[in-house]
Amino acid sequence: MLPLSSRLGALVIVALLAAGCEGGQPLYEAGLKDEAFGKFAGRASASDEAARPALSAEEVDRFIRLENIRPEERPPIESDEAGVWLIADRAEASVRREADRIRDAELNSYVHGNVCKLAGAYCSSVRSYVVRVPTFNASMSPNGMMMVHTGLLLRAGNEAEMNAVLGHEIGHFLRRHSVQRQRMIAQTKSTLAWLSFAVALVGGSLNLMDLSSTIGIANVMAYERDHEREADGYGLRMLFDQGYDPRAASQIWSRLIREKEKAGEQRRFNPMLATHPAPQERMAVLGEIGNALAPRMSAMELGRRKHLSMILPRRHMWIEDEIRLNDLKHADALLDVLIEDGVNLGELYYYKGEAYRKQGSKEKLEKALEFYDQAIGRNGTPDRLHKAKGLVLARLERNAEAIEALEKYLALVPEDPDAALLRSQIESIRKKVGNS
């Protein structure tokens, strides 16, 4: 076996090779320059369209490796692509039945309305499902099934930011990334099999075969990262076409980076095995392109008011889902980023208190009280803050204040289903005080 230093050296070379194979910034621009998509997309204005960069013949050869799927096209049954679609069709049938699919008609209509606006003639080919999952994510299946996590809706500060991600997912669909990836894997496996055979024939060592397989994996991952870059570019293109501020594509990444930094998640980017480009790269490149595009647009919007009108009435449920993950650093960081956005701060400070209350140690309970106090008097503070505050005070044995807070809550919400429990809690505190 090769010594450790040699193996590490080989891995570094592989990483560099894989990184060298990646498309970089031009791939982010491929979507903007895609004439084929332009035929089916609704456009903001003719003058904006003229401002969009064009793809050179050389770039067509380099980046358009497979034609876009056409609106309402279904791959022929004998094709490898049809197999991928059939698997996705089966997955979609189960997604439709699942309990975490959100059946809120108004929210689904809002999200799908945006998908349709962005997708243009592809509208009927893409079906969106909002799922109650507290993570920043959306996904696209090869058959046009898009899953949108509530964690994404919670974090997007406006319609433009949300649409940058929805457009990215539509980009995966129309560029047929799933089948491209499947073909790439098959090709890589075949090449590696022949390579291993050749190595064995000449009496080569197993280490060489291991190395070739590592190169293969790195190559597939680099290919996937290129798809992500390309899809990001389509997201940007769709913002541009529909008159949204193209800088929003970078801003949503900036939010996510801030959240991860606040949570102390300093994950190092793995240049060999990462399935997506680093968020910092996406923020920087999308920002650069967005900044160049914005001045060329005749008008643009963020769609913040409409977005908030859909998100705010539902936000409490999604924040509760995040808090239930029971990861205080994560919840604290998310709430801090939402607080920076400045909407309904009373609700956000209340939930900061809740995240700390769930941890239950004396120190965390005291911190919870600080956040409840910060919430009071601000917009969106829920009445149940007094209930939570009373329970925290009871646990800290600040009995008179606990009784006061719980009684205040019962005066505000006498019909609370927990009213009987709260009254018995007040009685037991009184008894305790009387006995002491």
Binding site: R97, A99, R324, G360, S361, L391, Q425
Partner: protein, 194 residues
Amino acid sequence: MSGGWKAGLSAAVLLVFLAGCTRYQLAEPRLYNFENHYLFKTRTAWNTTSEYRAVMWTKSGEILDALYFFEPTPNGQSPFAPESQEKFPPFRTNMTVLDLRDFLTTSLSNIKALDIEYQSAKPIKLGQTDAHRFDFTYRRKSRLEMRGIALLAIHDHHLYFVLFMAESSHYYGALIGEVEEILASLRVPAKAKS
């Protein structure tokens, strides 16, 4: 070697392998004392197995019905998982009844229970020990509707926790009579081991 002998040997080897796969044991109808933490009796046989910090009883398999008796959990730990699995909230000895319900909700959410709703919460006694009973419903991701009962008691600085969950359209109704008998007989001994 005759063919019959070979077949017999193969069957024996297969049985040995299958025995290795056996997870459940039979719990005969009788009085039980789980390490002096829980005393109760049952009048029919159940299948039983141990999981992390709990003994689980079931009639039809744990997806359809399960009755868990959790080991007493000390302050700062979760009955559901080791401390390393931080997604489960820690139990605290100073929890109020509503904190216990929140603790239950968060814990169940982290075993993929969705849309948890409480039908009732009431104080009960497990022998001499004060406890709380929560009746609730939830859905699995597959949309299977479930019903459950949780009994929680803070005793001797530990959480005593018994949980029954069953599919609601048939299994809950089929078992609830017997489960109620078990729960009615349940005692937490006054001098519990910790």
